[in-house]
């Protein structure tokens, strides 16, 4: 396995929006993230890994929803261990959880407004920011529809709208493309690229093609450990003709995982 340290491969823009050293996060007794080193700056970072790799747990830790068990985690220059200003950090976060909860009786606009308020955006700025976020995810015509009337794909887009409404410095999107049709996925990739210009965007997904198409940086984890961090081209280069997958990127993904599992067995 070609293992690359975070410091070597992370984008060169500084300061780091996300810095983790030896990060360990438990889910019950299970160590879901196990000694992860990660540094993320501005750009779009794709987080890949098989089921149970620890992607969602890592996202939750970065979203300050769960506390790390060990190691060091800094977000926007603030330690996330009770010593830093967690409130300040959260103002700069945008988070779409894997299980996106919403108030079904709220309209899209009301729900995004509510989240903008929860993120302590200045009141006068909220209406324009909400409209902008709704427009960016293509829900303009559904802005005044109740959340409970939306399809799965529309709900996901509403979830993205709430995540980006505060123009966050760190955007954490867990499985954002679930339920999106192909055209919407293409639009979403464009949105990701736009967001990545000013923000540190971390996208957790199963869809390797989305990562290759839209991300500047790929992070692959397995069993809570970092397997690979590098460019999409680097991921493609890891694959060989005999590796599983329908595309070069998928073959690279399979190859890296196969090698990591073999190393673990040894």
């Amino acid at each position: 396995m070609r293992s690359v340290s975070a410091a070597e491969t992370a984008p060169t823009i500084s300061p780091w929006a996300v810095q983790a050293e030896g990060l360990r996060v438990r889910v019950g007794r299970h160590l879901a993230v196990d000694g992860l080193d990660l540094s993320l700056g501005t750009g779009v970072h794709g987080l890949l890994g098989p089921n149970g790799a620890g992607k969602t747990t890592l996202m939750r830790a970065l979203a300050t929803v769960v506390k790390p068990a060990d190691g060091r985690l800094q977000l926007l220059g603030q330690p996330v261990d009770g010593r830093g200003n967690l409130r300040l950090v959260r103002r700069g976060l945008g988070y779409l959880p894997q299980q996106f909860g919403f108030y079904p009786r709220f309209t899209v606009r009301e729900f995004v407004e509510y989240l903008a308020w929860l993120k302590e955006m200045p009141g006068p700025a909220i209406p324009d920011a909400v409209q902008r976020a709704i427009d960016r995810v293509g829900l303009t015509e559904k802005a005044d529809a109740r959340m409970k009337t939306l399809s799965g794909g529309m709900l996901r887009r509403a979830g993205i709208a709430q995540a980006i409404v505060n123009s966050p410095e760190v955007v954490l999107l867990d499985e954002p493309t679930v339920g999106l049709d192909p055209e919407q996925r293409l639009d979403f990739r464009t949105l990701l690229r736009e967001l990545g210009v000013d923000s540190c965007v971390l996208v957790s997904t199963h869809l390797v093609e989305d990562v290759v198409a839209a991300c500047t940086d790929v992070i692959l984890i397995n069993r809570g450990k970092l397997v690979y961090q590098g460019t999409p081209d680097g991921l493609v280069a890891e694959g060989g003709p005999d590796d599983a997958g329908d595309s070069p990127a998928e073959r690279g993904y399979s190859a890296l995982l196969r090698r990591h599992r073999a190393e673990e067995v040894r």
Partner: protein, 437 residues
């Protein structure tokens, strides 16, 4: 914040709470309007008694509202945001409070067109009684929200509703060691006492209830906004402070009067002109209806020797020592108001004033002979009572026929004897027969 408040008002359980309180409150009130239609204080007291159902409903609505976060699975998303929990729950607390209080107030307001034509007397104590009721619903909603957050289960709302009713039913003087004042302090349905036209609620009792309920409300908010176990324990502090302050304010033991009388409500308001006709301030709105009927009764009584020269509402109550003496020169009458807020049976009002020749049976422990009393009234009115085979109508008709058969002066003398006997709570039949009273 304004936009969030507006959204919460539309989308939270606040609207449902308002409607439930309105429907249940109006339904309960108008199921028995005769209980309260005779004045503003009875309205306020009746609505307070109906808190036995409204209070648990507000408690359940609060618990249901708090389940929204768990039901909608938003906890993780919200936990990633910067606004602290106390601020986050503030709009929901505010709209639930608005819904609870306005629901209660609107129920009271529905009685305005119903009784405004007759109910003129509006003592400030009414506002205190209503305010305590509204505050109790706010406290219930907030406490329910706290319970709903601590126990986020679909069963929580119905369970707290039942528990709320049980608590209100249990908080009775016998359970509290005979401490009526303690029951009045702890339960918003207590401290009302017995209904009468001149009842009031002491300001100190209302203040104590408000302090206790404020403690309950603040405890609810602290529990709701508490993120740590220690804060939840600390939530008991406002409850204890509220209880302590209420205990310091409420009259205790023999100093507590369960059914105090409003002396201002008892004060007489008289019609212009003569003869003098007066009603209590509580019934001042009926003076115009009562006066012509009372003067007609006085005119009919004027045929008697030493006739009464004024008619005054009898404001004595069984809750109180008699504040008005019963005298021969004054006809004392009771005012009864129907469920429509109007004088009950106005057509027979003058007739009732003439019972026993205009003498009240109220001071007589054994009452007065009803047949003689009513027959005399019919003779004075010049109306034959309905002939009937059964008592008491048969007796009334028989006595009236006896009087009617007498020469007028003889009949007048007999009626005058009946009046004299009635004043002494004597035997009317004997007086009518020409014996001594």
């Amino acid at each position: 914040m304004t936009r969030v408040l507006r959204t919460e008002l539309r989308r939270s359980s606040a609207g449902a709470l308002f409607l439930v309180l309105l429907v249940a409150g109006v339904g309960l009130l108008y199921s028995a309007p005769d209980v309260w239609a005779y004045g503003w204080m009875p309205v306020a007291m009746a609505e307070r008694q109906y808190l036995i159902l409204l209070w648990p409903l507000a408690l359940a609505a609060g618990a249901w509202q708090s389940r929204r976060e768990q039901r909608s699975n938003v906890a993780e998303l919200f936990a990633s945001t910067s606004r602290p929990l106390p601020q986050r729950v503030a709009p929901t607390l505010a709209v639930m409070a608005v819904a609870a209080a306005s629901g209660y107030l609107v129920v009271a307001a529905t009685t305005v067109p119903w009784i405004a034509h007759s109910a003129r007397y509006l003592p400030t104590a009414v506002f205190a009684v209503v305010a305590v009721g509204a505050l109790s619903l706010v406290a219930a909603a907030w406490l329910g929200m706290a319970i709903g957050r601590l126990v986020p289960s679909p069963a929580t709302a119905p369970v707290v509703a039942v528990a709320g009713i049980a608590v209100l039913l249990i908080l009775t003087p016998p359970v509290l060691g005979g401490r009526t004042w303690l029951a009045a302090m702890l339960s918003p349905t207590r401290g009302i006492g017995l209904f009468s036209d001149f009842r009031t609620v002491s300001g100190r009792v209302s203040a104590a209830q408000a302090l206790w309920l404020a403690g309950v409300a603040v405890t609810g908010t602290v529990l709701l906004a508490a993120g740590k176990r220690l804060t939840r324990v600390a939530a008991l502090i406002p409850l204890l402070l509220g209880a302590g302050a209420a205990l310091a304010v409420i009259p205790q033991g023999s100093a507590y009067v369960d059914s105090p009388i409003d002396r201002v409500a008892q004060q007489l308001v008289c019609a212009e002109g003569s003869p003098r006709v007066c009603v209590s301030r509580a019934h001042a709105g009926l003076l115009d209806v009562v006066t012509p009927r009372a003067r007609e009764a006085l005119r009919l009584l004027a045929r008697l020797p030493d006739p009464p020269t004024s008619a005054v509402e009898d404001v004595n109550t069984f809750l109180d020592e008699h504040v008005q003496p019963y005298r021969a020169d004054t006809v004392m009458f009771r005012i009864e108001i129907g469920g429509d807020g109007r004088l009950l049976n106005p057509d027979s009002f003058a007739m009732r004033m003439l019972y026993a020749g205009g003498m009240s049976e109220a001071p007589c422990p054994d009452g007065l002979d009803p047949a003689v009393s009513i027959a005399v009234a019919h003779w004075l009115m010049g109306e034959e009572p309905p002939a009937a085979a059964a008592e008491p109508d048969a007796d009334i008709h028989s006595v009236w026929a006896g009087l009617h058969a007498l020469p007028e002066q003889a009949a007048i003398d007999r009626v005058a004897a009946v009046r004299k006997a009635a004043l002494a709570c004597g035997d009317l039949a004997e007086a009518l027969a020409g014996g001594t009273a």
